[in-house]
Amino acid sequence: MVKPLSILETEELTYTYSTGTPFEKTAVDHVNLKIEKNCMVGVIGHTGSGKSTLMQHFNGLLRPTSGRVLLDGEDIWADKKKLRDVRFRVGLVFQYPEYQLFEETVWKDIAFGPKNMGLSDAEIRTRVLETAEMIGLEEELLERSPFALSGGQKRRAAIAGVMAMRPEILILDEPCAGLDPKGRNHLLRQICDYQKKTKSTVMLVSHSMEDAAAYTEKLLVMNQAKLFCYDDTPAVFRRTEELCSMGLRIPQIAGVMHTLRQKGYDLPEDIYTVEQARDAVLSLLRKGGGAAC
């Protein structure tokens, strides 16, 4: 098998807050990572595990205390003048991004990033329209003031503002915070579609293990400033006990399957969605469903 190309790498990345004061704290501790192109990555970990700090290194908002961040093999801090380009290539959507909307119209707000990139008007136009469609904003909304939109629409407009830069990596910090279940699933599906269409890498920071399980190919797990693991999603969920001991909650259904497995039932190890569980139970029933012991 051909090894997939990596787009972003970190080498011994370390970041320490308030160095030299009593509040000194290492938020990211010697992290080594290789993130592939064209991949849907989930990022999970407790509040304070260092995941948000790590993400802010990927587009050069924070400078490592030691270690390096490589984008396409180049150290992003090698030439400070290129840092702005790095931010266009690695898009970062913060939590509650709707609080950054500022333009008179939604259109102008989405165009802010592309404009800063120095794109032509025609190109900006195509990008605004394309992005709006991908994220589910109707064209008539684009001429409205962003402050006149509903909560869900504001969130979409803000995300579109970063997507329109067509970054090679798009990082979203809790894009669904505060949305109801319907809005949540809807937005996640649109983000997945965006990823497939643009063949870029999307990193989804989330507290919801259910979402991480249902929408990602790979999972990056941070624990106490260290990288716990970066692996295929099923492989990560196979480590149920370790995840639980870190205080991360596995999806409810994965917990049920784990308990049944411990009781000796012959169920596969990597079940973490409801559909997988249904299929596993059905096949076990068909086999005569017995306990293994």
Partner: protein, 267 residues
């Protein structure tokens, strides 16, 4: 980062001065300023210096912190000293170069002014080092309360001050976040011409204002839900109470003032 900025300069340790009633401390600071401006004799400044040293002793504030309070005004001090030196024409000329001349009077005046300003700064810093912003607000509200009779909105002022104190750190943190978010969209904040820089502030200021108004609205509702209806009939958890040490402190302060007055007459 912006949120690392500490608000006010309260230095949270325990000392006699910390425990004193903030109302007395405010009045005493004002009396101290009056003392400094009572005359033009160095003896008055010496008296002021003794007072400040005494207060420092009671406050346990490290000398390093005192120096820190004076440091930011050093260049202003230098400029005023030079101006006084050059433009006061009084007494013997000690040094002359073309139109510029330095006189004896110039030297004494600039020295006098410098010491006076330094004492003033240290004295008022001792007040803010030893009194938390919230206590200061309470004290100001209490001291201004007689003005309620002439319909001056004392309670409202104090409430506004304390809400501002509460929200400044929150809004600073928010500014930090908005700045990062706009930088991530390629906004440049730290270079370009002045007009460009002013323009670059728009993407920061608008979201900040929008958010501040939203917060204000939500806070207002939350306050109403907790039965807020202005200062009328309101009680307080913490009431300011004067202790014997406050009266002693005040007496000492008056003694200094009286001494200064006597000096002023004698000299």
């Amino acid at each position: 980062m912006l949120k690392d900025i500490t608000l006010g300069q309260y230095f949270p340790i325990d000392s006699v001065l910390h425990r004193m009633d903030p109302r007395f401390k405010i009045i005493e600071t004002m009396l101290f300023i009056v003392l400094l401006f009572m005359g033009s004799s160095f003896w008055i400044l010496a008296l002021g210096a003794v007072f400040v040293l005494l207060a420092r002793q009671l406050s346990n504030i490290p000398m390093k912190m005192i120096w820190k309070s004076v440091k930011p005004i050093l260049h202003i001090l230098a400029v005023t000293a030079v101006l006084n030196l050059l433009f006061i024409d009084d007494g013997d000329v000690l040094f002359q170069w073309k139109l510029l001349k330095v006189t004896e009077g110039g030297i004494t005046t600039s020295l006098f002014m410098m010491i006076r300003i330094v004492l003033l700064i240290i004295g008022s810093s001792l007040l803010t080092y030893t009194t938390s912003p919230i206590l200061l607000t309470d004290a100001i509200e209490s001291l201004l309360s007689p003005l309620k009779r002439v319909k001056f909105p004392v309670h409202e002022m104090a409430m506004m001050m304390s809400i501002a104190l509460r929200f400044i750190p929150t809004l600073l943190e928010e500014t930090d976040k908005i700045m990062s978010a706009q930088k991530a969209r390629g906004a440049t904040l730290d270079n370009g011409k002045l007009t460009e820089r002013a323009k670059a502030l728009i993407p920061i200021l608008i979201p900040l204002f929008v958010s501040a108004f939203r917060r204000a609205e939500e806070l207002a509702t939350a306050m109403e839900c907790r039965c807020y209806r202005g200062g009328e009939g309101r009680t307080r958890l913490r009431t300011l109470k004067a202790a014997p040490r406050d009266y002693i402190g005040f007496a000492v302060c008056l003694l200094f003032l009286a001494a200064a007055a006597v000096l002023n007459i004698l000299l």
